[in-house]
Amino acid sequence: MVTAVTTTRRAACVVGVGETRYAKWGGITDASEYQLAVQSILAAIADAGLTPDDVDGLASFAEDRNDATFMAADLGLPELRYASLSWLPGGGGACAALANAAMAVESGAAEAVVVYRSLCQGQFRRFGRGPGNLPARVGPPRVPHVRRATSLLEAHVAFTMPFGMFSPPIAYAMVLQRHMHLFGTTEEHMGHVAVTTRAHAARNPRAVMGGRPMTMDDYLASRMVSEPFRLFDCCLENDGACAVVVTTTERAADAPKGPVAILASAQGALHGFGHGQYSNVGMPDDDYASAGARGVAARLWARAGIGPADIDVAQIYDHFTGLVLLSLEDFGFCGRGEGGPYAASGALAWPDGAMPTNTHGGSLSEAYIHGLNHVVEGVRQLRGESTCQVDGAETCLVTSAAGVPTSAVVLGRR
């Protein structure tokens, strides 16, 4: 006798989002980074209409100081059934962490997974402030020999740090310099990204830079950090945390704000991309002056069964203005080399642009939470809750950091 087994594919969706207040660097002194992570997770769980008793998974991405195993114990989760940390470096992994949570839910490994990120740069080393991976020596005499590296990363940054490539703006300024050389991209093109997202932030009460309007003249007057990047080309450094709850569509039936579907995800890096944050100078010539996301984009659109023309609103990782242009190219919103003119056409501006982008203000003007706040904004758009709401938005592209192994998701309204 044969018993027929009927299986229904479990589909993952987002049912809750939450965040703490966002404040400028060092602006939060009454709570630790870890406490903020806890606050944002509780807020997201409450938004989903759940309690910590319903949660059995935690997901984050590289360089997270706030270990999931501590978090599970401190939240009092009845049982931790899934915990993962994406290897994609820095801001490359926010969408990957969401995708990993979705895969855990869809496989049946877990029922409800929280993705979280807390970043209190005032309490730790400031990313943009000099060498963090190699100890700076104090005064002479010089070390007369090469030390033994204690990690792969330390040996790797030995080829960048001693030459003063300390910080992401320096590494990515070099990418934009070549893009300008090849395609005629200008400073004003990048300025359009800064000015447009600042205007979006003006409507967002959570935005760190909400009360600081910016004109193109303001942008051009900001001090140069590493040519061609000015201060206003660089994302914020700040304090805050956010979190996202992923569960099955079956469980989401009870979610007070309804489900937002994860229509597709992709993550990774093309061959020859390099080892990480500072190694993209070794990329193939065709890829160097790009976001390095062509492979992720191709797989994402193939899985989603839709393309850039079907997207209603986009949240594009914006650690630097220029890399938004490169991501728009890689994900097919415009042709290779056309990111600058595309932005200058007003395409990114809410509400009338061809592709309203970073409607929360992005990392440039809302907050720098390694792009997990871009996922939160994507969810809000599809719920109709954004402060720059795109009328009738049904699809949102969210991307993670350009210039490192990265990830992206397409969110949809079900």
Partner: protein, 150 residues
Amino acid sequence: MTERWFPDEMPMPAASAETMGWWEAAAEHRLVVQRCAQCGTTRHPPGPLCPHCRSSASQWRQLPGTGRVYTFTVVRQAFIPSLSDRLPYVVAAVELDDSAGARLVSNLVDVDPAEVTLDMAVEVVWEDMGPELALPRFRPAPATTQGRGR
């Protein structure tokens, strides 16, 4: 006796088993690139395996020390305090001649940052940090060496 372009407080390199040979050559003012002993593909930074043919056999190929600026940036913020009187400085990716396209992150020295362009021909100049450590920097190449060895 070589010049010193950067302050003592700059980070010093640390080496892995794979990269130590490169730094040993640098200490002798030899600019090298790791080359697969099986298929000849070059790779930088050095690693345990040829990403092309997966051979673990490798050699150090000595390079002429010339190259072209692939891209660069003029840094105008002192990310460590002692750099404040050395600003601006130039960080460049130099595509090294005879290396099959390997690019090295380094500095351009003895040049007005406003004069730096992509594809500019450059040559190595060594900065001794101590008896067993030297860092390659680059300066504009004299006209006689320009275009050689591509």
